[in-house]
Amino acid sequence: MTATFADVATLSAASPGLWARAGASVLQVAAVAAGGPLLLGLMGKVRARAEGRIGPPITQGLWDLRKLLRKEAIRAEHTSAVAALAPLVLVASAALAAAVTPLVTTGPVVAGGADVFVVVYLLLMGSVALALGGLDAGTAFGGMGSSRAMTIGAISEPALLVGILALAVQAHTSNLPGIVAASLAHPGWLASPQRLLALAALVVVVIAETGRIPVDNPSTHLELTMIHEAMILEYAGSDLALVTVGEAMRLGLLLGLVANLFFPWGVEGSGGGLAILIGLVVLGAKTATLAALIALVEVSTAKLRLFRVPELLAGGFVLAVVAVTTGLVAR
């Protein structure tokens, strides 16, 4: 993998200075934090329209956050620091992942450290923190939600990792900006079998990780069927706002990651304010398209029986493994 580091070195050399890259990272975090709730709003709107309803405005998620932030964070009796820290860890891990992932630019700060493993495990850290937070209050629902979320996470996280590895094998680097840059340099790769297989695997993962139908129903109010909602049932006020923002950021991040890995055009590479602006607009357009597509698929399907969900995810994992194998054979 010596070529890898050479690539990264070239990349870093071509990139603008440290301050500019730090600025780009901050911009990425802000874009994900504001864009995540908007993407959720867009998905709700697409669903509503497809079902013949008007639906809440796309910005509703942001207004809800404003409302929640003004409210007191009431914590359940007997909760420990875990319940208080979990939302913070969730948001912090998502923000850090957003800072280093090539979303708007291939040259964010510490681009060399933006490894596949780093980003995937940052996301995993958030999931685990939330699951622990769900367990902390000791209620039946929190435990049930955490148990279900971890069952799903145990299969979806490896699928995410292996899916991206398929691209890493092709690009000869596990560095995310490196993969994006290499993809930009070789447009022919995008139609390669391992890419298409990996794309299918990652779409399944994104749906599972963000708790969408057919894995989880984000709009249900039936306590016993919920996965994610059951886990966060004990959170209120500003804590709930943090959890909501953290979850929305994960959605934005995952969609942005998938969009840029498979459709890398528009990601700014060589610096410059205008290019970053264009990168931002293109990122918004790409993620919005993906979100709308997922919402349309959601409308046409129903939620799977809980015990069928691992089958779906295992299918995604197998696709990812096949993608990696195909990539290795193709070398």
């Binding site: 013949g52 129903a302 939620k303």
Partner: protein
Amino acid sequence: MTLHEQAAPIPAGTSELVATGDLQARAAALLGAGFRLALVAGHDDGHDDGHDDGHGLRVVYVFCAGPPDRRVELQVRLDPDRPAVPSLAAWSFPASRFERELADLFGIEPVGHPFLRPLVRHQHWPRDWHPMRRDAGPAPPMRSDAEPFPFVAVEGPGVYEIPVGPVHAGLIEPGHFRFSVVGETILKMKARLWFVHRGIEQLFEGRPAADGVVLAERISGDTAAAHTLAYCLAVEDALRVEVPHDAQLLRALVVELERITNHVADLGALCNDVGFGVAHARALTLRERLLRLAGEITGHRLLRGTMRPGATTLRRLPTEAELADVAALVEDLVGLATSNTVVMDRFKGTAVLSRDDAEAIGALGVVARASGLVVDARVAHPFADVGTDLVPVVEESGDVLARFSVRAREVAASLRLVAELAGQVRSLDAGASDLPRRGGAGLGIVEAWRGTIVDRVEVEADGRLARCKVVDPSFLTWPALSVALADTIVPDFPLANKSFNLSYAGNDL
């Protein structure tokens, strides 16, 4: 005139006073002959001097079978010193429920009951306060330190309990459910209901018979028409009122309309519970359309104010075009759900209620028919000749899909029936509201959208109600839900519960 009336057979069947000691043998013989115990009503006839210490307590047992329509009443007068009845629980599961109700509300002890726990009475009711006794007086202060309900704890490695409700996240009626679970599999579910006790049966007492309609319409909000009809039929039976054929046709039409509206809402709600929002949105639109139609036809979206003892009035009839429109939309809706493989996968094999269990529990209505039982009061106890052959819709598999299919097919059948009824009606305002001044006892049986409602009224000679006992199908069908849930997984409970969709308010009166 009086001679003629005396010679006429009592339409409700026979009523017979039996000795307490003979009750079990007589009941067993009836149950063995294919009758079901449809209603048990306690009565406190009191004393003229106002003094009451358990004297004058009487219990009425109503047994039904059909077709052909057969109704038999057995009455027992209780020992004044020790108000007790021999328990029929060994022969009939519904009897065990009725007897627990008697024990709570009247303080009548069912001797030999195998599992005499409180039913209606919640822990904060004083144990010895029986509100249906004449001498009960105003409600005493509720106790907060009372012993909790004796839930049966399931023990074993990995078993844990999930308590849900009575306050839920959605806009649904209150009910407390306690699940004993291993992993995600339900070992046992105990439903603790009776959070909505309004004392409706007592509110009927002393009202003029014509004024009971207002209460009957409010027993269970979504079943206003069928409950009102059952009440009207019971009063008409008690006072021997002849109702014109047109009025009966209009009543049948209104009850079918109620069936269609509620079944459509259920079809959508079942889809919503598996996350299939499109079908739910369509069902809601269709339901709103049906409610508006109901508003135009009867003047009330929930079909109130059309029926009264002796008469029925509608504003207009539904047109064939309106009914055909609805039929097409329902067909679309059902097709949308059944063509989706994920929806079908969720419905199939979920929460199976076997035919034997349904029969033993005495389940009624949609739930019973989805488990292969042919029970439909429209066939067994028709209140009027609607001039058409009604065939009960029956499915065999007993799962959520069967209950979905029964509803879907019943909507189609009811739409055809409404069209036929509308064709036969000659007058939109049929019957007379003046009730004869006489007393009596009567029975009303109606197949509501959930199942069979049985009402029994006793009217005093001055035309006031002495007693009105209401049996909503939910009262007898609720225990079937717990049985169907064995080996179902926790996340499928809301779906299973919705497929039963039993009434909390109708169950608790």
